[in-house]
Subunit: 88 residues, 2 copies
DNA sequence: GAGATATTTAGGCAAATATCTAAATACTCA
DNA sequence: TGAGTATTTAGATATTTGCCTAAATATCTC
């Protein structure tokens, strides 16, 4: 849960997730959408992977990244639990 | 949205929200639950307020904090939007 | 194998963050 | 008004984070 919130805190990482929502992308394709060097994006992708928000698969010289939405279920549960009214 | 994710990233701040779920608490009551000095908690509360996750109300010499869950609706919307499958 | 492309690793730096102590502010009550 | 309590503000410090460049690794193609 800690790694999840940590991963989601950064706006670039959130943007990556939004990009991956439409389909898998290579590290290079992701990087080209940002005004940032490739190693920086690689680092962001690593943090997203650590949070299990993305998975990666090597295909030849490319590395394809996919979004993994299952961890978000826990997040929604946590948030909705906060929203429960206390019994009055 | 940025301040929201920023506020939620810190585990102490998340714990504060969980405490407030059961009812309003004073700054001092919140601080006493942590192994941390009061000014640090005050700072965390300030960040939570900036994210509109809590509101505060002064009553005499005490400041009562309340959780404000309405901002979490936007967060849930954002998360669920990520979970939508792309049209295949 | 050599050169080209894709990606990650390593190391460094500056800005942001989390914490602390000390001091300031605000309120209560005698 | 003055002492005591509650909270915040200010300023300092250590850690974390996000970015960079350079180098390493892996793969493709000739």
């Amino acid at each position: 849960m800690d790694k999840l919130f940590k991963a989601l805190k950064d706006p670039s990482r959130r943007q990556i997730l939004e990009m991956l929502k439409s389909g898998d992308l290579t590290a290079g394709e992701i990087a080209s959408a940002f005004d940032m060097q490739k190693p920086s994006i690689s680092h962001h992708l690593d943090l997203l992977r650590q949070a299990d928000l993305v998975s990666s698969q090597k295909k030849g010289q490319y590395v394809y990244y996919s979004i993994n939405t299952s961890v978000l279920d826990d997040l929604i549960t946590w948030i909705m639990d906060l929203q429960q009214q206390p019994e009055s």
